[in-house]
Amino acid sequence: MSESKSSNTVLPPEISANDDTPKPKNGFTRRTILSGIGAAGIAVTASPVFAATSVIVDTELVEQSAPPAGTILVSLTINGKTHALNIEPRVTLLDCLRENLDLTGTKKGCDHGQCGACTVHINGRRVNSCLTFAAMHRGDEITTIEGIGQPGNLHAMQAAFIEHDGFQCWYCTSGQIMSAVALLKEPWGPEDKDVKEAMAGNICRCGAYPNIIAAVQQVRGNGGSKA
């Protein structure tokens, strides 16, 4: 925990030291505007359970004081960076990523492990982040789409999805790409039908499947495992 005092402190996204995501010049994004509306304009609607009670904390303060009632201190390593948070036990890894850490590349689709939009890697293996509690992942290496590649430095799978038009609305795409990157290390056969089976846990309601398979096969052919 000692090294976490400076670099691991979770900062609000607008002052995050190593956030190199391009931002609009006026400082507004669709997300910040919608978030503002959510906080002020629709407060009377049922808010997600985590919003009111989960707190992002400075680790120095955490070490000096007990977590707020109902929360527990959890240290998570995400994309190589350690974050200390006070969260309720019921916060899923998916909600923690999106709502507490603003890593919104990971999407919530069905929230029941059926659609694959929330796919992330835990210790290099793909999982549905909606079906696991964040508090269960102390010490695990978690990788999200933000840790796979960035604009200007895309992972080969991201580039292949763009080249092959492996999407329409984009909602499932980060989950598709996280699955596709993971399957490169899994024992699947070389055929298109093997890719279809390997990717069965990622639903695309736009129906971009043929293009997704083409993208995955291109990357496998360019050094991916065919075993």
Binding site: V49, G70, I72, E88, P89, R90, T92, D111, H112, G113, G116, T119, R125, R126, V127, N128, L131, T132, F133, A135, M136, S179, A182, L183, E186, P187, K196, E197, A198, A200, G201, N202
Partner: protein, 339 residues
């Protein structure tokens, strides 16, 4: 989801002790173990499960597959479904189990779901999963069964009662029934072995009780007996989609023959069914119809007829009787046709 306390267990005995205060280990348990979370967390989001305390057992040293000196295979309760499916011992000696595991769920879920958790997988009965329905004997004992007069196309035709027709959804457990697996439990009062054949309860008048586990019982290992020499096997799963779907009918078959002409005579057989029964279903009736008989389609069909003789269909699932029969015949044909 109501909030709960989460505790990380450091040892199997500590986990058992922590859970021993639960009123039950069955539906309505106020203390639950969580491993992969793929069933429990799903049901907690639906408020079908609402434990006050959840014990995270993922740090326990129960994730190994170990060949034992006596030829058995000891599978740790925390071995993930994907790892078990690809374990060299399982691929070589128990291919029916590997096939069953790989036919279930998705790659993501197989990376999460564990051996112990899969044995405790809960039914996909939509009336059980939806609190809008107040008549579900499994959730609310004595409240009735919405499925019997409702949409029951996916429901059970074997092992049902007047109180419950919910189907057990596991593929892995069906293969393990055929393999005569043994479940090792670390309980509040010590360790014990439970043959899988004795592990699951029929619904009867108490469908809320699905197995013999008591409060504090933690599944630690599953042991697979040494493989049957020269046996061939196959797992066939029939479903609405080719992938990522629960079985409408499935069959795990293991067959050994004497090597005689035209397929030879069957010396040893195992038949277990999934997707059609209230628990993973071993059919001794089918096996009796096969043992000592020539391995040909006429006897496969006789075995299938025997297996489904006591089937009791509902309004929407009569088709499952013939589907299950054909599933058995096809699985036996595929298994015995292997080189």
């Amino acid at each position: 989801m109501i909030d709960f306390q989460i505790v990380t267990a450091e040892s199997p005995s500590q986990a058992a002790q922590l859970a021993s205060g639960s009123q039950t280990a069955q539906q309505g348990a106020d203390i639950r173990f969580v491993a992969g979370g793929t069933t429990l967390i799903d049901l907690m989001k639906l408020d079908v499960e609402a434990p006050k305390k959840v014990i995270d057992i993922n740090r326990l040293d129960l994730a190994k597959v170990e060949k034992q000196p006596d030829g058995t295979l000891r599978v740790g309760a925390l071995v993930r479904n994907a790892d078990l499916a690809h374990d060299p011992n399982v691929v070589r000696d128990y291919p029916v189990l590997s096939q069953a595991l790989l036919s279930g769920a998705s790659a993501q879920l197989r990376n999460m779901a564990t051996t112990g958790g899969n044995l405790l997988q809960r039914t996909r009965c939509m009336y059980f999963r939806d609190l809008a329905f107040t008549d579900c004997n499994k959730r609310i004992p004595g409240s009735g069964c919405a499925a019997m007069g409702g949409l029951n196309r996916t429901h059970a035709i074997l092992g049902t009662s007047d109180h419950c027709i919910a189907t057990h959804p596991s593929d892995m457990a069906v293969a393990m029934m055929a393999l005569e697996a043994v479940v090792h439990v670390n309980g509040a009062s010590g360790e014990r072995d439970i043959p899988l054949a004795d592990f699951y309860l029929l619904p009867g008048t108490t469908p809320q009780n699905e197995n013999v586990l008591k409060p504090g019982d933690l599944i630690t290992y599953v042991t697979l007996p040494a493989p049957i020499p020269n046996a061939k096997s196959h797992y066939l799963k029939l479903r609405d989609r080719a992938s990522y779907e629960f079985a409408l009918a499935s069959a795990a078959v293991i067959v050994a023959t004497d090597g005689g002409p035209s397929g030879g005579k069957i010396t040893h057989s195992r038949v277990a069914l999934g997707g059609v029964a209230t628990r993973p279903w071993r059919s001794h009736e089918a096996e009796r119809a096969l043992d000592g008989k020539p391995a040909n389609e006429a006897h496969f069909r006789a075995a299938a007829e025997a297996a489904l003789r006591d089937a009791k269909p509902q309004s929407g699932n009569k088709y499952k009787i013939e589907l299950a029969k054909r599933c058995i015949v096809r699985a036996l044909t595929t298994a015995t046709a292997q080189a």
